[in-house]
């Protein structure tokens, strides 16, 4: 990455601190990140509409997690580094190369759905070119797959980093512990991004763990645990970039705990108003990571209200087009269920 241009501090039009230049992030890159967040939100809104229209039997959302995911993805090398995602990683996967069109095919379970040919529920991402690994619905076991990928990279002498995602609830699983332990023993090029949104479906963090922050768990494995504001895309990017440098220079794994907000219920089959206080939901929704980043860009003179609405319209149109195409795309034949149990041919 080239050295950032030397600029005096606090050069934004409103006198606000420039936080991106010293990270080497260009205005184009920032606007790309912002657009990825907007696109993810737009896709997310659309899939819920499809669910409410009875066209999508199930959706599970990452709304509120976009800054953490795009901030992390922006520090990775798509097609080189690996992502072992979990079901809230829509923004993450879009930022690594999955398209809105790809995703909508999975919402409708179409034959041409590149993640699974219509077999998996939506948000079970998989994309070979983007090195996004196919996962089950269970979040614990896949952490070990990321470590195995990292072990293979290390054994083969490849400059690749494996990143896995999970929620704070998932860190209660034994497989997560086994993964963290193994990664640290072998100083693997591995990063675990925990998206801590306070709830595992309905169970609050205090009933998952006795520590106040998931990052505290890292100490027990002998690796750094970094706690970040997951609503701040630049803070996540900074932590992720540092973790990537550690991983690539042979210093080992990092646990990043990003505090995020789960704007939606766990899934389309849940209603979080049943177990979360109304004031809590209201306060959470008032702090939207998209608005926070939009305001930063505006203060830095990088985004005008006109540009903002053009970006949003673009995303909306992209998602509408993806939805229209996916809706009329063919379904797999029932007899197709027998394919790909073992290698064919």
């Amino acid at each position: 990455m080239s050295a950032p241009p030397k600029e005096p501090k606090g050069t934004g039009p409103a006198g606000s601190l420039d936080r991106h230049s010293k990270l080497g992030l260009s205005s184009e890159r920032l606007l790309w990140m912002y657009r990825q967040m907007l696109l993810a939100r737009s896709v997310d809104r659309r899939m819920w509409l499809l669910n409410r229209q009875g066209k999508a039997p199930f959706v599970v959302s990452g709304r509120g997690h976009e800054a953490a995911q795009v901030g992390a993805a922006a520090a990775m090398r798509p097609g080189v580094d690996w992502l072992v995602p979990y079901y809230r990683d829509l923004a993450f996967c879009l930022a690594l190369g999955v398209t809105a069109a790809d995703f909508m095919l999975s919402v409708f379970a179409r034959a041409s759905d590149p993640s699974s040919g219509g077999r998996q529920m939506p948000s079970h991402f998989s994309n070979v070119e983007a090195r996004i690994v196919s996962t089950s619905s269970v979040v614990g076991p896949k952490q070990l797959h990321a470590c195995g990928i990292a072990y293979a990279a290390q054994l083969r002498g490849l400059d690749e980093v494996a990143v896995s995602c999970i929620g704070e609830g998932g860190t209660s699983e034994g497989d997560w512990h086994e993964a963290m332990n193994f990664a640290s023993i072998h100083r693997l090029p591995f990063i675990c991004l925990v998206q801590d949104n306070d709830y595992a479906i309905s169970v609050p963090r205090r009933l998952q763990m006795a520590v106040a922050d998931v990052a505290h768990r890292a100490k027990g494995y002998g690796m750094p645990g970094v706690s970040v504001d997951g609503g701040d895309v630049l803070e996540v990017y900074t932590a992720m970039r540092r973790a990537m440098e550690r991983a690539r220079s042979g210093q080992g794994p990092t646990l990043i705990a990003a505090r995020v907000a789960r704007f939606t219920s766990h899934s389309s089959d849940d209603d979080q108003r049943r177990y979360r206080p109304a004031e809590e939901l209201e306060a959470m929704l008032a702090l939207d990571p998209l608005e926070r980043f939009g305001e930063y860009l505006t203060r830095q003179g990088l985004l005008t209200p006109e540009q903002d609405s053009t970006l949003k319209d673009d995303c909306h149109e992209e998602v509408e087009e993806a939805t229209r195409r996916a809706e009329v795309a063919p379904s797999p034949e029932p007899s197709d269920i027998h394919r790909h149990l073992f290698q064919e041919g």
């Binding site: 089950s136 076991p141 070990l144 990928i149 990292a150 072990y151 034994g174 086994e178 993964a179 332990n181």
Partner: protein, 327 residues
């Protein structure tokens, strides 16, 4: 050719495949410096280094999960589960992850891993070093399950397992490790999956078994020969894929089938073979399909007399065969 042990065949398959293909690596508890608790991997770490013969933490889900991940990034892992009795924490990794990777990604990702599993009793292993676990795994689509009973097959089936593009569970009966001797073909030796082997020909009844029970069936057949009974013994070798045509052909030739397995009777893999014969060879049968298996009890006790009472013996098998032939 020299008589060698079954575990020699296992070790030779791994060593030759590691020599041939740098992607092959071995992982498990104690597989490195110690060479495995049964010495199946003895000498491999000295030859191939600690990265390719990896001593893992004491965590079976971890062993299989790491193997799955490593296979996704270009390696060919051979994972050792120290005892079949300890495999249960890895059930989820095997059943929900390894065997579904190809299916759930519509062929985009695959999982070419071999899981070596020492199983079975008669070794004074008590409740937790004696179990048979094949029924759990032979039930699962997407997994191949094989079980050698001879040193040559141990090498040939394990070599095929390592080269297989999909997950394979390789079951090794612990009692056969050093008890069963035979020739091992030098150099490349592959045994195709889904092919049973007739270990003894006979016209009065067919015994179907795998692993150690093949040898108990052979002993029973030998003792019945003195009584004028000619018993065919079919060594399945491969549970999934099941050598269906060979089973049906064998039963058609004798009209009587005895299935022997050392797992619990109820829901054991032999029940599947019994169902197959009942469905597809009913008209060939002169007697009910019969099973000899372990009782429906947790596992075999440590006490030697009780252990013997649990394990299907050649005498029990012979008695069942007499009844079957007399029917």
């Amino acid at each position: 050719m020299a008589q060698r042990t079954l575990i020699d065949g296992i070790r030779e398959a791994m060593a030759e495949e590691m020599e041939r293909d740098p992607r092959v690596f071995v992982l498990g508890e104690d597989v490195g410096r110690k060479g495995g608790v049964f010495l199946a991997t003895e000498g491999l770490q000295e030859r191939f280094g600690p990265d390719r013969v990896l001593d893992t933490p004491l965590a079976e889900a971890g062993i299989v999960g790491i193997a799955i991940g490593a296979s996704l990034n270009g390696l060919i892992p051979v994972a050792e589960i120290q005892f079949a009795d300890f495999i249960h924490p890895a059930f989820d990794q095997i059943v929900s992850e390894a065997t579904r990777m190809r299916y759930r990604s519509y062929g985009a990702y695959s999982c070419p891993i071999t899981i070596r599993v020492p199983y079975g009793g008669g070794v004074h292993g008590g409740l937790y070093h004696s179990q048979s676990i094949e029924a759990f795994y032979a039930h699962v689509p997407g997994l191949k399950v094989v079980a050698p009973s001879t040193p040559a097959d141990a090498k040939g089936l394990l070599t095929s397992a390592i080269r297989d593009p999909d997950p394979v569970m390789f079951l090794e009966h612990k009692k056969t490790y050093r008890l069963i001797k035979g020739e091992i073909p030098p150099g490349e030796h592959l045994v195709e999956f889904g092919q049973a082997a007739e270990r003894r020909s006979g016209r009065h009844a067919t015994c179907i078994a795998w692993g150690l029970m093949v040898h108990h069936c052979l002993e029973a057949a030998e003792s019945l020969a003195a009584e004028g009974l000619e018993i065919q013994v079919l060594d399945l070798r491969s549970l999934r894929p099941l050598p269906e045509a060979q089973i049906l052909e064998a039963v058609a030739s004798t009209s009587r089938a005895l299935i022997v397995y050392e797992d619990n009777l109820t829901g054991g893999f032999g029940a599947e073979i019994a169902a197959l014969i009942a469905e597809k060879a009913f008209a060939d049968l002169d007697a009910p399909v019969t099973r000899v298996a372990a009782p429906d009890l947790p596992a075999m006790p440590f006490n030697p007399a009780q252990e013997a009472a649990f394990l299907p013996s050649p005498e029990r098998i012979a008695a069942a065969l007499r009844t079957l032939v007399a029917y």
